[in-house]
């Protein structure tokens, strides 16, 4: 058996945006690994791919050759390429969601390959850090007096569609909002419910928490007290919602 582990860069668009172009095709192709004798995982995060492939020697070699010529990534840096007696993973996993904590996969990998990891060059360590550093991030879960805003919507395929999740996403989409105003009249739910959803957003890395900007306080007040437009009411009526 053989193991290959590498990280590589997502390609740049003509305008220089680092984008995981074809990620869904890569996922589709990598699902074939789940059906074959391959184990390991594929991760994507902040413009980088990280893949560990274990399996029969010949098959891993063939796959690695194919991957090395795939134009959907560049600069592959292979840091493990060796025969193994035992697999590190029992199945094939894919974790391509940028802002999700992937540390469990890496803990398992690093536990088995601790000797190799200890001998990594600085460049190799930095490559892994993009994926593994999440475990060291400790978020402040105290939102009291802070302003909140989303930087992206969560993947609605992978998060509960509860009303409170949708309502908070809608509220935090266009402007930052003071935490305390979110609690007014329990419009979104109880303090604990609001906190739980916000914590979920923060764990996904899609929530920005900032100190209140004194100059913008007035503006936020206006947003909060804004009355619904007649267009809003008319659409609701059209949809039979009132």
């Amino acid at each position: 058996m053989k193991c290959i582990a590498y990280f590589s860069k997502a390609p740049l668009t003509k305008r220089g945006i680092c984008l995981p172009i074809g990620l869904s095709d890569i996922v589709k192709a990598s699902n074939r690994n789940a059906k074959s004798k391959m184990t390991g995982f594929l991760c994507y995060r902040q413009g980088y791919y990280f893949q560990v492939i274990e399996g029969p020697h010949e098959e891993v070699e063939q796959l690695a050759l194919k991957i090395s010529t795939d134009s959907r990534h560049s600069d592959p840096c292979i840091f493990i390429n060796q025969r193994i007696n035992k697999r590190c993973f029992t199945e094939w996993r894919v974790s391509v969601f940028d802002l999700i904590d992937q540390s469990q996969l890496f803990k398992q990998f690093i536990k088995i390959y601790k000797i190799e990891v200890a001998n990594f060059t600085e460049q190799q360590k930095l490559g892994i850090q993009k994926f593994y550093d999440l475990k060291n991030l400790s978020y402040s879960k105290n939102y009291e007096g802070k302003n909140l805003r989303l930087i992206a919507w969560p993947d609605l395929n992978h998060i509960s569609h509860s009303q409170i999740v949708i309502d908070l996403c809608v509220k935090l989409t266009k402007k930052s909002y003071p935490f305390n105003q979110l609690l007014d009249n329990e419009q979104f739910g109880t303090r604990d419910q609001v906190n739980a959803v916000l914590n979920q957003f923060q764990n996904l890395g899609i929530l920005t928490v900032t100190e209140p900007d004194v100059l913008k306080k007035q503006e936020i007040g206006i947003v909060h007290t804004k009355t619904p437009s007649s267009f809003f009411g008319a659409i609701k009526k059209f949809l039979g919602m009132r």
């Binding site: 668009t13 003509k14 305008r15 945006i17 680092c18 984008l19 995981p20 172009i21 074809g22 990620l23 869904s24 095709d25 890569i26 996922v27 589709k28 699902n31 994507y44 894919v94 391509v96 969601f97 940028d98 805003r149 989303l150 930087i151 992206a152 919507w153 993947d155 609605l156 395929n157 992978h158 949708i166 996403c169 809608v170 989409t173 266009k174 619904p228 437009s229 007649s230 267009f231 809003f232 008319a234 659409i235 609701k236 009526k237 059209f238 949809l239 919602m241």
Partner: protein, 175 residues
Amino acid sequence: MDYQKLAIIGEVGAGKTQIVQTLSEISPFGTEAKSTIDIGKEHTTVGIDYGRITLSDDMALGLYGVPGQERYSFLWEFVNQSLWGLLILIKYGKTPNYENLDKMLTFFSPEKSETTCIVAITHCEEGDELSIAALGQEIRVMLMHHNVVAPVINLDPRSQESAKSLLVLFNALNN
């Protein structure tokens, strides 16, 4: 007259004509024409799909389906006024043209103009959950690059329910 526009933009076969048709109370005008290039679709829209939702005597929402290719950007100019919302349709199954999407987002700049934007993935029935989610991830990276905070949803343009949910979401985001 309070008249606002919902611009629906996307590549060939993404479902613009269908969603306008589903949403509209009047049939879109005859903007379907025989395509001169084989693009795997017998008819393709060479102009604007138009539909209209009359909300009251003096209030209406115009639905404008416009091609996502840059060569039709003169049509983007046409719809980019009194925008109530911008709906970007992405067809699952084919890697989107991100250069186009980039140009589209630069042109409409939803973040600067505070236009409500929703990205909808269509043809989801052809994909598995993980691949669709991966496509959503690709799109989200592009949106984040443009500082656009927008939901990426799955949409069936043929379904009234799906189309109505879309309007509900636009309305909530606009409020």
